[in-house]
């Protein structure tokens, strides 16, 4: 078809918001501000008094993970992306976990990859402890 034969176009006012809200997002959006969230999630408040901090994941979640190895026998709690004084965080967290669980907990610090590991399943306790500190 020649350019001259093409039909004329005219702009039409359409509200596309109902379509746009269904389109997939490219980046993770910042969460809406609320007083309390039903899931128990809390945003990172930050704590300048502490010499360490923990970087949240891309989805704004705490980087505490459970690694299950050796067919379910070995369970490790990992805290990733620790910034600042990693040994201080390790010492304080370890003391808290040992008191809370009344047992010795084997642990490991990796300064190069910035993670702290505890032998056992303490993900929820670690997350609560981090949330109390606003991390």
């Amino acid at each position: 078809m020649l350019v001259e034969e093409l039909p004329a176009v005219e702009p039409v006012d359409v509200d596309w918001s109902h379509v746009e809200r269904l389109l997939p997002r490219r980046t993770v959006p910042t969460p809406t501000d609320k007083v309390a969230y039903p899931s128990g999630w809390t945003p990172q408040r930050g704590n300048p008094s502490l010499p360490y901090s923990v970087r949240r994941s891309v989805n704004h979640m705490l980087p505490v993970y459970l690694r299950i190895m050796e067919d379910g026998v070995k369970r490790l709690t990992v805290v990733r992306n620790v910034r600042g004084d990693i040994w201080k965080l390790h010492d304080e967290l370890k003391r808290h976990l040992e008191e809370a669980n009344s047992r010795y907990i084997a642990s490991r610090v990796n300064e190069v990859s910035l993670y702290v590991q505890f032998k056992g399943e303490y993900v929820q306790q670690v997350k609560d402890w981090l949330r109390e500190r606003g991390l």
Binding site: E20, L23, P24, R25, R26, T27, V28, V58, N59, R83, V112, S113, L114
Partner: protein, 225 residues
């Protein structure tokens, strides 16, 4: 870059997530390895006993010769026979490093370069003349390393710089979209323009907030918000 001596023009704020990231060496290594390996093709190939010419007939009867039993003259045991477990034809080593590893590697490398005083920011890359000797003198006066990578935000660069750097093999020009870990490590000094720094920061910060599952390259950009 209008004179050989450098002049401090102002202060630039750099985002810590991009330029003060922890130098994760494993990410830098992974990126360099990926950049080398994803395009590597091994052409080594051997023939198996089925592919070697000949060897269809039993060379001698099963029993009675005093010799070892044999079914074919091209068995892997025989000289001139096929290779049983050799390389089998062209092999590609293509793989894709995860999005977060590639972005993390770029941030780590930029941070390393900045921390080791190998990253310099200039206002623009305009030179007074296209003389490669003058450019070399400028680089030496400012104590920039033997090899320099000039990074601008677009691929259209000032003509004088293009002509001068063309004569010198270890001065190279790169737009922001071509920035990669291998090239940044290969050159001793990185020289970025202010526009390039801003573009790099903007793109890397947006990439850092993309989850791996969302990092699909070949999608219709108009459909994604």
């Amino acid at each position: 870059m209008d004179s050989a001596d450098e002049r401090k023009i102002g202060l630039l704020e750099l985002h810590p997530e991009v330029f003060a990231a922890f130098p994760k060496l494993h990410l830098i290594h992974d990126n360099v390895r990926w950049q080398r390996m994803y395009r590597q093709v091994d052409y080594a190939a051997t023939k198996t006993r089925a592919e070697v010419r000949g060897g269809g007939r039993k060379p001698h009867p099963q029993k009675g010769g005093g010799r070892a039993r044999a079914g074919s003259i091209r068995s892997p045991l025989w000289k001139g026979g096929g290779v049983s477990h050799g390389p089998r034809g062209p092999k590609t080593h293509f793989y894709m490093l995860s999005h977060s590893a590639r972005v993390g590697g770029l941030c780590a490398t930029l941070s390393v370069k900045l921390a080791q005083n190998d990253l310099h920011v200039v206002r623009d890359l305009d030179l007074p003349s296209a003389d490669p000797g003058r450019l070399q003198e400028l680089v030496e006066r400012r104590y920039w390393g033997p090899s320099v990578l000039f990074v601008d935000d677009t691929d259209e660069m000032p003509e004088n710089l293009v002509r001068a750097a063309d004569q010198v093999p270890h001065y190279n020009l790169l737009p922001v979209y071509g920035l990669n870990v291998f090239t940044m490590l290969k050159h001793d000094t990185l020289v970025l323009t202010v526009a390039a720094v801003e573009r790099v920061q903007e793109r890397l910060l947006r990439a850092l907030s993309i989850h791996n599952s969302m990092a699909v390259k070949h999608t219709d950009a108009s459909l994604l918000r």
